[in-house]
Symmetry: C2
Subunit: 454 residues, 2 copies
Amino acid sequence: MSVKIFLDESEIPRQWYNLAADLPTQPPLAADGSPLTPEKLSPVFPMNLIEQEVSAQRWIDIPEEIIEMLYRFRPSPLKRAVYLEKALGTPAKIFYKDESVSPAGSHKPNSAIPQVWYNRQFGTKTLTTETGAGQWGCALSFACSLMGLTCKVFMVRISFDQKPFRKVMMETWGGKCVASPSNETEAGRRYLAMDPNMPGSLGIAISEAVEAAVSDKSGSTKYTLGSVLNHVMLHQTIIGLEAKKQLAKIGIKKPDVVIASAGGGSNFAGLAFPFIQDKINGADIDIIPVEPTSCPTLTRGLFRYDFGDTAGLTPLLPMHTLGHNFMPAPIHAGGLRYHGMSPLVSETVNKGLVSPVALPQTECYKAALQWARTEGFIVAPESSHAIAAAVREANKAKEEGKEKVIVLNISGHGHMDLAGYSKFLNGELTDYALPQEEIDKAERELDGLPKIKG
Amino acid sequence: MSVKIFLDESEIPRQWYNLAADLPTQPPLAADGSPLTPEKLSPVFPMNLIEQEVSAQRWIDIPEEIIEMLYRFRPSPLKRAVYLEKALGTPAKIFYKDESVSPAGSHKPNSAIPQVWYNRQFGTKTLTTETGAGQWGCALSFACSLMGLTCKVFMVRISFDQKPFRKVMMETWGGKCVASPSNETEAGRRYLAMDPNMPGSLGIAISEAVEAAVSDKSGSTKYTLGSVLNHVMLHQTIIGLEAKKQLAKIGIKKPDVVIASAGGGSNFAGLAFPFIQDKINGADIDIIPVEPTSCPTLTRGLFRYDFGDTAGLTPLLPMHTLGHNFMPAPIHAGGLRYHGMSPLVSETVNKGLVSPVALPQTECYKAALQWARTEGFIVAPESSHAIAAAVREANKAKEEGKEKVIVLNISGHGHMDLAGYSKFLNGELTDYALPQEEIDKAERELDGLPKIKG
């Protein structure tokens, strides 16, 4: 029965863990290759979040009001997947953090709430952002509704049309959501003039959201991002900090394996960074970011300076990338279809602290189906990647006869993603492996950008 | 911060509360009006559940294995709606049980798990059922997947077509779901011959599910129902039993107001019956079942013997009813579109123990929107009725200047019901009040059936 571990009020984390203190990365550059200063970022982000972005302080206090808002739905439970263990016949103990319990249904509010709070402190009235699959747009709309800010989301048109209910969710929280490219920005109008039926891309949506923020000359509109950046990773560490306390409560000093899916990095960083700190300090833990074979940023991408968006408007970030012109295959895990990766997560790969794997989507859906029929919950396609990797590890533990402790992260529920389940159940899904030409093409493109030193 | 109350393992309820011990109802009759014996029910239900159905024992032990399965996702949290309180400026304290945390997303697994467990004990291999909005079909598919039974769901065709993802959910748990009327039963084929495009009804779907069960002459197929019957109400009392312990933990001896929506009665009974026991024993509590004005079973229906299904195949139940031929308006709270009501819930109305109210759907959606923008969660349209009634009570407490304790039940999330939110946000929803002719028509029809004595 002791398969569900909660924390008391006195035990909840009151500081975020900043991996940058233990693992410095290369500095980002401005789009023209010159050094990036906080001032150059200030038209886009408020200064209090820029300070977090560049901070080298190991522990950062979480303001009390943010704790209160987060702990309306946190701590997320740490549960043991006893039914899955039994089905696999494994001696491994499989634990999972369940981030689907937030109102927006994913881990994204862990950063949306602080980002809105710091913006409100700074005087921001309106926030703009882009969203692909819709999880981040929902989380930001929800957080804005709690704190009375206006929220404007540019949603990639193809997702906007395929998932109309994501827009309804955002509107239910009072957010405004338009399909991108839109008529509301110069960038959007330019793309629409080229092709009125353009399906859009995350890159174009970022361009629109940034333009909408900086073109408000009153300065009361800012831009937000749901992944990749250091301050987003920082906010998400609350997941792993809770998990460590929850494991300690049942006498587990350290897990043997830590697993989470990685798209832009926020979900992986959330669970893994506090355990990476332990690993830096000598703990023996296998830490596994999981990505799709169709978008293998960490396993096959190049570590280079690259733009975060397709149009090349963002700063240049030192990261694993498939090139900012990369168009991922139409797999159903929309949150994992990103060409780049958080610079901090990238650095954990460079330093050999983590061991990324890439998995095909049908193996992931098969694992998600087994999960639903044992643990009960229908997970997001992104989370299915972590489950599939955990199944592999549990089977390995069985072969080795080892009673390993595996901890994974369920980033969200799959209630908005049932079209993918339907296709899998009907045998309509295929796997995509990336041809080497794509990597070669990315290399040629990236050669035109500034190089990483050392 | 003390706004979320959980229970320890040692505090979870280990017995269900049977209101029939404190509030006997009229006996149901066989369809021909003769006395109904357990033997007459045995082709349809297993004898262990029939025993629960007719039991007059006040407390019934929950088998340990059922407790283990329920407590994978229970106890459901009792939370205080502090953000809503603030928005309303009410001195009332509003607490809510959140039943959306189950894998199927509603309170329905509370009875699906015991029903599957008792059937498995009895030797049943396959369970059949009907579903309208899809919540019960999902819950039964989920419970069958945990215990290895085959699940066959007949889903009303119009819902089947409108909500394709409900079928995908059932299939994800291994359930089989067909649109009703179907070609798989004699009843279904008869209706299809009359009209190949028939939208179907809960009544026809019940006929098909019962036929599919009794036509398996091996006896290994049984039928299940997700509401109305005494044993379903019994299983759901775990909600209210938990709520009482959770309130006691923060020093609240009794609430002033208890509110839940009522369709067939299972959600209302779940929260309210344990408090009705207190009321029978002298406690001063307002207990409010909430129904839609378009289907006002408790507030305007007749207390008569009536069939549970349109075709007249079920036993005759003594209940509040709008007549088994009643066709409710197409409101979005599918779970509240039922002509009848649990006999036990009906008897609480007869005895003046509860005070039902009927609310129009636009008031309910308005309240659901306020809930989403304060408490964060997007609730099912059924649950919105409880929220709207709680808002009324909280405003009344404000006028009276009383610090009342209000407890309501959130029966499920609204992730599969966003079409209704969309229509409300676009101003496309209307209210329906039932014309008196409909009640008169029901009265004429019911006059042809056996009368309730006394």
